[in-house]
């Protein structure tokens, strides 16, 4: 076989081989609760950012929540995240002081799959699993009811669920009962009143009106 034919055949074969290898070597996407089964191995996990803080040494500790479990991620470097963002992280599973951690040596392996503002959900979804979103930025859709100067209630179409929304920072809003809106704010729990609430307390929070169907 001439070198020109050899190179043609084996270059195509080589690229195919690399493709299969890349499929094999890509870390598996696992559920957070499965992490103990993968000690010392590279894995990918996905979840919502519940907490994130910087360490003294320039690293970052991120807590993500998935289905009924949370995981701690240690990243060398700083990933630009916000509470409630949906992220994907790839790193090595390690045990640190009795907890399972995902250790990542490069912040490029933390990918934001969706910013919290884009993760819109109906009110019933939040009502079904409130603890999952507690303390996070959320974007909830529903209908306005009982408007006052400082707050209003957000209800779903069947009026099965109701959530109080504090919007005192947004004085120039024109909202009226029955209006369909999408509200982005921080989902918290008021211990005195013993109820969940949505607070519009930061500049990035807001209310977007939607056309009623």
């Amino acid at each position: 076989m001439k070198l020109k034919h050899f190179s043609l055949l084996f270059s195509i074969g080589g690229v195919l081989l690399l493709y299969f290898l890349s499929e094999l070597t890509t870390p598996p996407l696992i559920e957070i609760h499965e992490m103990p089964n993968y000690e010392g191995k590279q894995v990918t996990i996905e979840g919502l950012v519940i907490d994130h803080r910087l360490t003294k040494h320039g690293g970052q500790i991120i807590t993500v929540g998935g289905e009924n479990a949370t995981a701690t991620i240690f990243v060398e470097g700083n990933a630009d995240l916000e509470y409630g963002d949906k992220i994907q992280a790839t790193g090595e599973v390690q045990k640190y002081k009795d907890t399972w951690e995902l250790v990542i040596n490069d912040n490029r392996f933390v990918i934001i799959l969706e910013k919290w503002q884009n993760l819109s959900m109906p009110l019933w979804q939040l009502a079904e699993n409130p603890t999952k979103y507690l303390g996070l930025n959320v974007n909830v859709t529903g209908f306005i009811e009982s408007v006052s100067n400082a707050y209003f209630y957000l209800v779903d179409i069947e009026q099965k669920h109701s959530l109080i929304v504090f919007y005192n920072l947004f004085e120039n809003l024109t909202i009226y009962p029955g209006q369909k809106v999408s509200v982005s704010g921080k989902f918290t729990f008021d211990e005195e009143q013993f109820r969940y609430q949505l607070e519009l307390c930061e500049e990035k929070h807001g209310i977007a009106t939607q056309v009623t169907e």
């Binding site: 020109k4 190179s7 080589g14 690399l18 493709y19 290898l21």
Partner: protein, 446 residues
């Protein structure tokens, strides 16, 4: 005074290193930049005695950058020597290879080197003249780069089409009746472009690890395989009959002088474009410049090609300070090592002026050294054990690839070499292998 002397000292060191990287065809300046980046901490420590003389740690890092940039500029001068003398093809392949080779086969290897040095040095001078105009065009007030960014997708697609569309190779393995060979040549170029692109997409998904904990750039084995090792392997396999070389400087009459000046200018503009647009190399710049130039005599092609190479190495440094982006391995390392403030006013940042000194002094030194080394090569060509030199170079690349990217890197190198052999063996342009960067970048912009 001491800082200036140190800049010149590191510049001379860089020029000497550039001779080594230029003469060893597979050893690219990007590899040196990468190694220096890994070793920067140790280098600063070994020059810590300079602290006593008021030289700061930041300035030592600037000196490393001066060294890298001088290496890269010297490399663009000296790399014509191995491509002329080592990559010499046999008669069957003479049509498909660079014009410098065919001059070698006529006994005019030194003339090819001298023309190339002239093109490169001309580009340095021309680029220096264009420094401020280009600054105003790319940056404020014209912001050409911003406009270009908005249409980058179309620019990259247009460049890809131009690259493939201007392929002139004729492949008659599947039929000799015109226009069949030309059409197959173009189809084959398209195939190489897309195969390289798919290869590029896949390797970015593959984790590579250095067995000794160095940073692991996956592009290193890929580019060394696509562009370095195939030339070396072909040089090993071909046994050209080289006539005795005539050592004579090129004779330039008035018409040739004008034509050469035009080649330097179009080549430099091609090189400047390459330094701005991501994902394209000097080879693409040469195709653009040659199309704009409209002449394809062997000598003018050599001048244009060298001008593109050197202008690109010159302007990636300047562009780094205007758009704050690196367009080469050398500037990538420089951006990691030193502070790169944006050049927004009439006065250029201090770090840029140090690098400009390196470019000008390094370029001038390199011009004379290229002529000197070229002469030595032409004289002692027959006495050098080239097969051994080439085998050692291949071994060096394999060792470096293993140290930086491990066993997976070696596999990538082998497959990249097989892809890189396609254009060499089938006679199409090697620049189609740049699909490795162009296709992933086009997909990113989509």
């Amino acid at each position: 005074m001491l800082p200036l002397l140190l800049v010149i000292f590191f510049c001379v060191l860089g020029v000497l290193t550039g001779i080594a990287t230029g003469l060893l065809p597979g050893l690219h300046v990007n590899n040196i930049a990468l190694i220096l980046l890994s070793l920067s901490g140790a280098i600063v420590a070994s020059f810590s005695f300079l602290f006593e003389y008021g030289i700061s740690q930041e300035f030592i890092l600037v000196l490393i950058c001066v060294y890298i940039i001088s290496t890269s500029i010297s490399h663009t001068f000296h790399d014509v020597i191995p491509s002329t003398f080592l990559g010499a093809p046999d008669e069957d392949m003479a049509l498909s290879v660079l014009p410098a080779h065919s001059l070698l086969l006529e006994g005019k290897g030194y003339e090819a080197v001298a023309l190339s040095a002239m093109g490169s040095y001309g580009a340095i001078l021309f680029c220096f003249l264009l420094l401020f105009p280009i600054r105003f065009i790319i940056g404020s007030p014209l912001f050409f780069y911003e406009t270009l960014r908005e249409i980058m997708l179309f620019v990259l697609i247009a460049i890809s089409i131009l690259m493939i569309g201007t392929e002139k190779a004729k492949i008659d393995d599947f039929g000799k009746k015109p226009p069949f060979p030309s059409a197959i040549g173009m189809l084959f170029a398209t195939f190489v472009f897309f195969l390289s692109g798919v290869f590029g997409i896949i390797i970015f998904e593959i984790p590579v690890d250095s067995p000794i904990g160095l940073s692991s750039p996956v592009l290193f084995p890929a580019l060394a395989g696509l562009f370095g090792t195939p030339t070396l392997l072909t040089s090993l396999m071909t046994k050209p009959v080289i006539p005795k070389q005539i050592i004579k400087a090129p004779l330039l009459d008035r018409k040739t002088k004008n034509s050469s000046a035009l080649s330097v200018m179009t080549g430099s503009l091609g090189g400047i474009l390459v330094s701005i647009i991501p994902g394209i190399t000097s080879a693409t710049g040469t195709i653009l410049a040659m199309n704009a130039r409209g002449e394809s005599s062997k000598r003018q092609t050599i001048i244009t090609l060298s001008a593109v190479n050197t202008a690109c190495a010159f302007f990636v440094v300047v562009v780094m300070f205007i758009i704050l982006r690196s367009r080469s391995g050398a500037t990538l390392a420089a951006m990691e090592l030193m502070s790169v403030p944006e050049w927004t006013t009439l006065f250029m940042p201090a770090n840029l002026s140090y690098l400009l000194i390196a470019l000008l002094v390094g370029g001038t030194l390199s011009y004379f050294l290229t002529l000197k080394v070229g002469k030595l090569f032409a004289r002692g060509f027959a006495n050098v054990p080239y097969a051994l030199v080439i085998k050692l170079t291949i071994s060096l690349i394999v060792i470096l690839v293993f140290l930086f990217t491990g066993i997976m890197g070696i596999l990538i190198l082998v497959i990249a070499t097989l892809i890189g052999l396609l254009p060499v063996e089938w006679g199409v342009r090697r620049s189609h292998c740049m699909g490795i960067l162009l296709i992933p970048i086009i997909l990113y912009f989509l």
